[in-house]
């Protein structure tokens, strides 16, 4: 029983670690999509910034420098998305897709040119990564019943970016609902003409949203390669950007809902990796592939309105044409 409890706590701990990039990307997605810009480029932005973070960390031996450049790269991609979909009024889905494919090609091409390791970056030493932060008294308190193990296994020992991700949820909720900018951002995704007639620039508001989204995706990428992992591996995002997109939809474009969805999807992934090759009573070998497919299936079911209703922002996907 005690062993099972520990297993459970370790799975929850893994949920947080796996869920962190999802949370950051989902918040990024909320910013873009609430402003009316479809953002399937979460994946590409995360991939490029994961590479940038690891490459810069390997060259400078500083995880922080890596993070900074990663954010910069991700914001640049966001601006490219903006140029295509806001200024030039191109198709937002296509430009997002282009960014994803571009990122796949660029990371490997530049990676091989820089490090000659088949597209990987060198393995990062401990000092070049974001390290786990042991909270005070974690060991001393671990003998306490119930709270002790939870404190030691689940709450203590995360790196700074995990905490940043959780803070990002509060930040997103605060910005969207409590600030003038947040009100404008939501309005621009619902009824841009209203904002326009009030004398606020639709384009500028959407660009701001994309820049914030870029910052968040940049952190998610840096987390993957310099905190959770120890270096960049080609295609290391492996569809996480799309899972985050699904989580954002599953959370009905709301920070709290998206957080819960990210944790649910993270939990499924954590469970799946623990069940790899395990024989479950009655079922036989655990159907890990099917567990991993659940986020996509759940999102489809929810979007179809079979469970609740997920309503996207009304003006999403439409370039704004100023009326004269």
């Amino acid at each position: 029983m005690a062993d099972l409890w520990l297993q459970f706590l370790l799975t929850i701990d893994a949920t947080l670690r796996v869920g962190t990039p999802l949370i950051l990307c989902a918040m990024a997605g909320i910013f873009s999509e609430k402003s009316g810009v479809i953002d399937i480029s979460l994946e590409g932005k995360m991939l490029m910034s994961a590479f940038a973070a690891a490459a810069v960390a390997a060259l400078t031996s500083s995880a922080l420098a890596g993070l900074t450049v990663a954010i910069g790269v991700s914001v640049l991609l966001g601006l490219l998305h903006g140029l295509a979909s806001i200024t030039l009024r191109g198709n937002q889905v296509i430009s997002g897709l282009a960014i994803n494919i571009l990122a796949s090609g660029l990371t490997v091409t530049i990676g091989i040119a820089m490090f000659q390791q088949g597209g990987q970056t060198p393995n990062l030493a401990r000092a070049e990564r974001f390290r786990p932060i042991e909270l005070p008294l974690a060991e001393q308190l671990s003998s306490l019943p119930l709270i002790g193990p939870i404190y030691r296994e689940v709450i203590s020992g995360h790196n700074i970016l995990v905490w940043v991700a959780l803070a990002a949820v509060l930040f997103t909720a605060y910005i969207l609902t409590r600030t003038r900018f947040g009100l404008r951002l939501r309005a621009v995704g619902e009824k841009p003409e209203a904002l326009d007639s009030a004398g606020v620039s639709v384009a500028r508001t959407r660009y701001m949203a994309l820049i914030i989204a870029g910052v968040l995706c940049g952190m998610a990428g840096a987390y993957l390669s310099t905190a959770h992992g120890s270096g960049f591996v080609r295609e290391m995002t492996a569809g996480k950007g799309y899972i985050a997109l699904a989580a954002m939809i599953f959370g009905k474009w709301q920070p709290r809902g998206a957080l819960l969805a990210c944790l649910l999807f993270g939990f499924l992934e954590a469970v799946a990796s623990r069940l790899q090759g395990v024989n479950v009573p009655l079922i036989g070998e655990a159907p890990v592939d099917l567990i991993l497919a659940l986020p996509y299936l759940l999102t489809v079911i929810l979007l179809a309105g079979f469970v609740g209703k997920a309503m996207p922002p009304r003006a999403i996907g439409e370039p704004y044409v100023k009326e004269r």
Binding site: S95, A98, T109, A304
Partner: protein, 375 residues
């Protein structure tokens, strides 16, 4: 900003795609130069690899076959203003359909029955995988882009689960089915040509290429010469108007997505029946996404799609050659070019329109002024 100015049709159809490819090549060339290699040398390697070396043209056409199918799939959906980015998953399931048919019947039927049956199975599996997102869009209001993305991942999960489980050939480690018997194979073109006594180098090019060309004709007839095609285009132009004219828009959306998915599913016949002769993991290798670039460049017209498929076939085959000739640039270069082409011809579609329209306007004005003097 005023809406983008209208270009003459020849410029829109002919000039703009050329400019887009050129822009993509220039940017990729800059990347190659930054890496420290000579972009022109890389270009030459790719052209030689795609057309000059023995058998290379066959490889180029073999890749093009995949792109014709997935490009047509995207184009058909585009005509109804539906963005099907699920070609990858639909093609993957098409491979399941072809594979299941061959596994079940390859000891039973001769090639003349088995192969058409397998082709139909791949098309119908793909069609179902396209029609479900179509239904969800038409009847339940889910966004087709998101659903088709999710269906790509679902298809991948199903295939991993099946190929590593039930369908895996006994006594074998790799996740793939057993090889089909010879009557399930689509013949290679070089075998056919050699049978007529003409020398042709070996390549994976097979009869699927002919099927792909037939599909182009079929799509042309469907979109521009049939009642259904009219309904599809009407739905794409204006859902409201189509509805008012008595077109059952929901049904059209579902049918369009089924046709689109079926075309994508048929990509599997090139890979599974033509080359691999068994269903393997990940045989779609992103060709479904390349179909988007192909449709964008080919302006959703079968002829444009054939030309764009040739271009991408050459890029893929030439790109493979980069691996051998350079230590620093690899076939991933092609992904970069592909991403840039999608960006320039899709996302940044209107970037070149304005300057080009302006330029053409100036040229035409100059010519008519000159004509005025002479006359």
């Amino acid at each position: 900003m005023t809406p983008p100015p209208a270009l003459p049709r020849w410029a829109d159809v002919g000039l703009i795609p050329l400019i887009n490819v050129l822009a993509a090549l220039v940017v990729s060339g800059i990347v190659v130069a930054v890496i420290g290699e000579n972009p022109f040398e890389a270009m030459m390697v790719m052209i030689k690899g795609a057309f000059v070396y023995k058998g290379s043209l066959g490889y180029t056409l073999y890749y093009a076959t995949n792109f014709i199918f997935t490009g047509l799939a995207v184009a058909v959906a585009f005509h109804a203003m539906l963005f099907n980015i699920g070609g990858e998953g639909q093609a993957y399931l098409g491979g399941l359909g072809a594979g299941l048919t061959c596994l079940m019947f390859d000891s039973m039927f001769p090639a003349l029955i088995l192969v058409p049956l397998a082709i139909m199975a791949s098309a119908s599996f793909g069609a179902v995988w396209g029609a479900i997102p179509g239904y969800l869009q038409a009847k339940r209001g889910s966004h087709i882009v998101i659903t088709t993305i999710m269906f790509n991942f679902l298809a991948a999960s199903i295939m991993v689960w099946l190929l590593a489980g039930r369908l895996k050939a006994p006594g074998q480690m790799s996740p793939e089915t057993r090889s089909f018997s010879a009557n399930a194979e689509l013949p290679f073109i070089h075998d056919i040509v050699n049978a007529f006594g003409v020398e042709m180098a070996r390549s994976p090019l097979n009869l699927s290429f002919v099927v792909a060309l037939l599909a182009c004709v079929g799509v042309w007839v469907l979109i521009w010469r049939s009642r259904l095609g009219y309904a599809i285009r009407a739905t794409g132009h204006s859902t409201g108007a189509a509805e008012y004219a008595g077109i059952p828009v929901s049904t059209i959306i579902i049918i369009t997505m089924a046709i689109s998915g079926g075309l994508a599913g048929m990509m599997a016949i090139n890979e599974i029946l033509g080359v691999q002769h068994r269903t393997i993991l990940g045989f779609t290798s992103g060709y479904g996404f390349t179909g988007i670039a192909v449709a964008l460049m080919g302006r959703n017209h079968p002829i444009g799609i054939i030309l764009a498929s040739l271009l991408f076939g050459a890029l893929y085959q030439g790109g493979a050659e980069l691996d051998f000739e350079f230590s620093t640039i690899t076939r991933e270069m092609v992904l970069l070019i592909q991403g840039l082409i999608i960006l320039f011809s899709g996302g940044l579609a209107f970037m070149f329109n304005r300057p080009l329209a302006h330029l053409l306007g100036l040229l035409l004005a100059a010519r008519s002024a000159k004509g005025g003097q002479n006359g």
